[in-house]
C-alpha cells in the first residue's frame, strides 16, 4: 500500500478523498458544524424502569443563569404522530425503560445545561419491571416477521424424525450477550427550527450523524407534522455507525422539540457515551438452541435452530438470528423459529450484521461440534453439506464459492497443522486453530436517484448517500469516473444532504451495489442525452435500475474465517495470534478501503467473541458497564497478524455492478472462528459469548484435556 498511484480508477487503489480533511481535523461531523449563537442541550432521563412521572420540579433549573429553556412532558410541543413510541418523546408521563428521555435543559453552555439538569427533581410512581431475558419460553411472543421482512418461522420436511434417527447429533444451547454499537462519534444532532409565519410553514435544519439523511427526513416528517421538503438533513461526515445511525432515534426528536423553544437559536446535542447505552439501539441478547442431525458420514439430515431474544415493550424489533441457518447448508429436514420477550428495556435495533452475527456464531460453533462428533475435519464437514441451490428459496445461487474460500484459506493459513484439542503448547500457552463459514445477503436497494451535471469542466455527481467511514466518498467517485471514462479528479461527488437526490440508507451492506448502480445508470442517461462533449450546465438523472435477472437467484456473499488462538494455561487469558478471512464478495472497487472494511469487520467479530458484553442490572434496568472503561472493545495491542483477501469472482447475477457488499460479512463468521480456535487450543467449549477467562477457568476442571502439570487447563 506504499506504492499507491496518484490516481486510479475502478478496481484500483485510490487514496481516500476524505482523508486529507480527516487528518487535518477539518472534517465537519455533526457537532463540528459552525452555527451562530449555539445553545446546548442536556437531557433528563428516567431513573426507573417502568412507571409514571408523578411530579417534576424544574424551578431550580429554570432559575439558573444561562438556562434558555427546560422541556418536560408538561410543556413539550405536541407531536403530530405518536404511533411509534420510540419517537413519542416527552408526550406523556409514562416511563417504559430506565434512561428514557423525560425532558431536557437547553442552556448557553454545556456546563450550565448539565448543572441545571442535575437540579431538576422528579418523583415517580414505580411499577414492577422485567429487564432480563428469560431462558425458558414462558410468556414469549411469536413475531409476525423478523427484521428485513423475513418470516419468523420456517419448516421443511420432518425435523423430529431426523433428530430421532440421527447417527450423529448435536443438541446444544448457545448464547450471545447484549452488545452496543459504539461508533466513535457519539450520536449527535444540531437542530435549527424556523417557525415561519405560523401557518404550517415551519422548517427544520438538522446537522445529524446518520447513515441516511433521507431516512431521517422521511421518518421525522410525519412525527413533527412537517412536509418532508420542510426538513433538511445534512451529514457529510459521520464518525461510524454500525447500524445504530441507520434510523433516527429519540434524541433527534428531543432536539427538534427543544429547538422550538429557543427562538430560532441552534440547539446542539451530542449524547454522552454513557447515554448511548440506553437511547440509540443495541444488539439483543440471544439464546439459541441448535440441533444438528447427521448420518455417519457427516451429511446433515436435519437442522433446527430455535431462538429466544428480546424487544422493548413499546416497540418491536425482532433480530433475524436464524435466517442464515435457512440457507447455509443442505439438509432435507429443517426448522427455524424466533420467539420474543417483551421487556421493560431500551429498544434494540440494527447492529453490524443483525441476525447473521449472533446466528452464525451459534450455528458455526455447532458445526464445529458436529465435525468432532463425526470425526471429520471441520472444513470437510462443510464441504459435504454444501448445497447446490438455496435450500430456503429453492433458487440457484447468483454465485457461491464458499468451498474455494476454505481451500484457499486452508493453504495460506496452514490449516493442516491443526491438532487435537488441547494438544499444542507454546510455553504457558495452549494454542489451537479454528474455522467458520461466513455469509451475508447481497442486497441491492431500489429507490435512489443520482444526478450528473457538467460544471466548470468537471462532472458533478449528486446523490443523497452517506459515508460513515466505509469509503463512499472515494469509491462512488471511482465508479462515476470509470463510467464517464475520466480520471477520478474529473469528478466531484456531493453526498450527505437531503438537498441532493433521494438515496437509500447505508445499511445491509447495500450501499455500493445500490448507489453505484444508480450512478452508473445516471452516467448512461447523461451520455445518451449529452454525448461525450457536453455543454456547460448539462444535467441528467436516473433511478436505481431494475436488474431483472436478480429475482431468479439467491444472492449472498460468502467467506471462510480462520483463527489461531492462544489460551493461557493458568489464567485463561485468550490472545488471537492470527486471523485470515477469505471472501467471495463479488467485485471490489478500491482494494485498500475494501480491506479496511473486511479487516475491521473481523475485529468487530473478534470483539464479540472475547470482549463485548453489556451487563444489565435486573434490579434497576441499568446497563452497569456503560462506558469504555468497562465495556471493552479491542485496542491496538489486542490485534496481531490479521488479514483479509478475496476471490476474483464478480457477481453480475446479483446486480449490474457485480459487487455484493463488504460491510458486514467480516463480522459474521469471526466470533465462531475464534471460539472454535479457543476450543481447539484448550479443549474447553464455551457456548456463552463472550469467552472470558472466568468461564474458561470454571469449565476447565470438567475437561479431560491438558497435561496434569499444565495448571488449570
Amino acid at each position: 500500500m506504499t506504492d499507491l498511484p496518484a490516481s486510479g480508477i475502478h478496481g484500483h487503489p485510490h487514496r481516500r478523498i476524505d482523508g486529507r480533511a480527516k487528518v487535518l481535523g477539518t472534517a465537519t461531523y455533526a457537532f463540528e458544524q459552525d452555527v451562530d449563537a449555539a445553545t446546548y442541550l442536556y437531557p433528563l432521563q428516567a431513573t426507573i424502569a417502568r412507571g409514571r412521572v408523578r411530579r417534576i420540579d424544574t424551578s431550580a433549573a429554570e432559575a439558573l443563569d444561562g438556562v434558555v429553556a427546560v422541556l418536560t412532558h408538561l410543556n413539550a410541543p405536541r407531536l403530530a404522530d405518536t404511533d411509534d413510541k420510540e419517537y413519542a418523546v416527552c408526550q406523556s408521563d409514562e416511563v417504559a425503560f430506565r434512561g428514557q428521555f423525560i425532558g431536557a435543559v437547553v442552556a448557553e453552555t454545556q456546563e450550565v445545561a448539565r448543572h441545571a439538569a442535575s437540579l431538576v427533581s422528579v418523583e415517580y410512581d414505580e411499577q414492577p419491571h422485567q429487564v432480563v431475558l428469560p431462558d425458558d419460553d414462558k410468556g414469549l411472543d411469536d413475531p409476525d416477521e423478523v427484521n428485513a421482512g423475513y418470516p419468523s418461522d420456517t419448516a421443511q420436511g420432518d425435523v423430529g424424525a431426523a433428530l430421532a434417527d440421527a447417527e450423529r447429533l448435536v443438541d446444544e444451547t448457545y448464547s450471545t450477550p447484549m452488545e452496543h454499537n459504539n461508533p466513535m462519534e457519539p450520536h449527535t444532532s444540531v437542530a435549527i427550527w424556523s417557525a415561519g409565519s405560523g401557518d404550517g410553514d415551519a422548517s427544520l435544519l438538522l446537522y445529524d450523524s446518520t447513515q441516511g439523511v433521507h431516512s431521517v427526513r422521511r421518518t421525522l416528517a410525519p412525527v413533527l407534522g412537517l412536509k418532508p421538503e420542510r426538513i433538511r438533513v445534512v451529514s457529510p461526515y459521520v464518525g461510524g455507525g454500525f447500524g445504530s445511525k441507520g434510523l433516527p432515534h429519540a434524541h433527534n426528536v428531543l432536539v427538534a422539540l427543544a429547538a422550538q423553544l429557543t427562538g430560532g437559536r441552534p440547539v446542539k446535542f451530542a449524547l454522552t457515551r454513557q447515554q448511548m447505552f440506553t437511547l440509540v439501539g443495541y444488539r439483543t441478547p440471544t439464546i439459541q438452541r441448535i440441533r444438528l442431525a447427521a448420518d455417519g458420514d457427516g451429511r446433515l439430515t436435519g437442522i433446527c435452530h430455535d431462538v429466544i431474544e428480546q424487544t422493548s415493550r413499546i416497540k418491536e424489533f425482532a433480530e433475524q438470528t436464524a435466517t442464515a441457518t435457512r440457507m447455509m447448508y443442505a439438509a432435507p429436514n429443517r426448522r427455524t423459529s424466533h420467539r420474543l420477550a417483551r421487556l421493560d428495556v431500551p429498544i434494540p435495533s440494527w447492529m453490524r450484521a443483525p441476525g447473521e452475527a449472533p446466528g452464525m456464531a451459534g450455528l458455526e460453533m455447532a458445526m464445529d461440534e458436529l465435525a468432532e462428533r463425526c470425526s471429520l475435519d471441520p472444513i470437510e464437514l462443510r464441504v459435504r453439506n454444501e448445497p447446490d441451490i438455496d435450500p430456503d428459496s429453492g433458487k440457484r445461487w447468483s454465485g457461491r464459492h464458499l468451498v474455494e474460500c476454505f481451500r484457499t484459506g486452508a493453504e495460506r493459513f496452514g490449516w493442516a497443522d491443526r491438532g487435537e484439542p488441547g494438544a499444542r503448547r507454546d510455553g504457558d500457552w495452549l494454542v489451537g486453530l479454528g474455522v467458520a463459514s461466513s455469509t451475508y445477503p447481497a442486497f441491492t436497494m431500489r429507490g435512489s436517484t443520482a444526478e450528473i451535471a457538467y460544471v466548470d469542466g468537471r462532472y458533478v455527481v449528486r446523490i443523497g448517500a452517506s459515508d460513515i467511514g466505509t469509503g463512499t466518498w472515494t469509491t462512488l467517485s471511482q465508479i462515476a469516473a470509470e463510467a464517464l471514462g475520466v480520471e477520478v479528479e474529473g469528478v466531484r461527488l456531493e453526498l450527505g444532504d437531503t438537498d441532493l437526490p433521494m438515496a437509500t440508507v447505508e445499511g445491509g451492506s447495500s450501499g455500493m451495489a445500490s448507489w453505484g448502480s444508480t450512478v452508473v445508470a445516471a452516467v448512461d442517461a447523461f451520455r445518451d442525452r449529452h454525448g461525450k462533449d457536453p455543454e456547460e450546465g448539462a444535467t441528467a438523472r436516473a433511478e436505481t435500475p431494475e436488474h431483472a435477472d436478480r429475482k431468479k437467484y439467491a444472492t449472498h456473499s460468502f467467506g471462510a474465517i480462520f483463527a489461531e488462538a492462544a489460551v493461557h494455561a493458568d489464567t485463561g487469558e485468550v490472545r488471537v495470534r492470527r486471523m485470515l478471512g477469505v471472501f467471495d464478495v463479488g467485485r471490489i472497487v478500491n482494494p485498500p478501503t475494501a480491506r479496511s472494511q473486511l479487516v475491521g469487520g473481523m475485529i468487530f467479530g473478534l470483539s464479540m467473541a472475547l470482549f463485548e458484553h453489556s451487563v444489565m442490572d435486573a434490579r434497576t434496568g441499568h446497563v452497569v458497564n456503560h462506558d469504555f472503561a468497562e465495556y471493552h472493545i479491542p485496542v491496538n495491542a489486542d490485534i496481531a497478524d490479521l488479514d483479509a483477501i478475496w476471490l476474483d469472482h464478480e457477481d453480475t447475477n446479483a446486480n449490474s455492478l457485480g459487487a455484493k457488499g463488504i460491510g458486514e460479512i467480516g463480522t459474521v463468521g469471526s466470533p465462531a472462528a475464534v471460539a472454535n480456535a479457543v476450543y481447539n487450543a484448550s479443549g474447553v467449549r464455551i457456548r456463552d459469548l463472550p469467552i472470558t477467562p472466568d468461564k474458561l477457568i470454571a469449565q476447565s476442571g470438567s475437561t479431560k484435556t491438558g497435561s496434569p502439570q499444565s495448571g488449570h487447563m
Binding site: R16, K22, P186, G240, S596, D627, F628
Partner: protein
C-alpha cells in the same frame, strides 16, 4: 476590568496564538477548545478519558483534553490537530496516516495522530509492539488498527531516513 462572578482568567497559547479568556473553573479543556475557540478538530468520544479522541499536546506532551480543566492550561502551550500542519503541508504523521489508509470514519484520527507524535518523540525508533502498546489509550472502532500501526512505523522510518 473585574472578573464575572465565578470566572477565572486564563492565558493560554493554542496552536501558536495567545488567548486571554474568562472561563468557569469547571470547564474542560476540550470544551474550551471546541465551544469557545471553535477548534473542533479535537473531538469528544467518550467523556471518561478512555478513548483518546480528544488527545492534544500540553507543553509538548500528549494529554486527553477531556481530563484536563481549561484553568489547568493557564500559562501553558496547547497544540491541537489543527496546529501541526505548516503552510498547507501536512505534518509527517498526518501524511503517513493519509497515505497508509490509517483511517475510516476519521473520528479517532486526530487523537491517534497526536498520540503517535508523542510516542515517536519519546521513542523515535519503535518496534511494532511498542506502537501497539503506545497507542493503548486510543480506541478505533472501524477499525484501522493495522494501518494505524503501519502509518506510525512509516513515519518513524521516514524521520530516521531524514536524520
Amino acid at each position: 476590568m473585574g472578573l464575572a462572578w465565578g470566572m477565572t482568567r486564563i492565558s493560554v497559547s493554542v496552536d501558536g496564538i495567545a488567548y486571554v479568556d474568562e472561563v468557569e473553573p469547571r470547564m474542560l479543556l476540550v470544551h474550551y477548545l471546541r465551544d469557545r475557540l471553535g477548534k473542533t478538530g479535537t473531538v469528544v468520544g467518550c467523556d471518561t478519558s478512555n478513548c483518546g479522541s480528544c488527545t492534544v499536546h500540553l507543553d509538548g506532551r500528549s494529554v486527553k483534553s477531556c481530563a484536563v480543566l481549561a484553568v489547568q492550561a493557564d500559562g501553558h502551550e496547547v497544540i491541537t490537530i489543527e496546529g501541526i500542519a505548516k503552510d498547507g503541508e501536512l505534518h509527517p504523521m498526518q501524511r503517513a496516516f493519509h497515505e497508509s489508509h490509517a483511517l475510516q470514519c476519521g473520528y479517532c484520527t486526530p487523537g491517534m495522530i497526536m498520540q503517535s507524535i508523542d510516542l515517536l518523540a519519546a521513542n523515535p525508533d519503535p518496534t511494532e509492539a511498542d506502537v501497539r502498546e503506545g497507542l493503548e489509550g486510543n480506541l478505533c472502532r472501524c477499525t484501522g488498527y493495522h494501518n494505524i500501526v503501519k502509518a506510525v512505523l512509516t513515519a518513524a522510518a521516514d524521520a530516521k531516513a531524514a536524520r
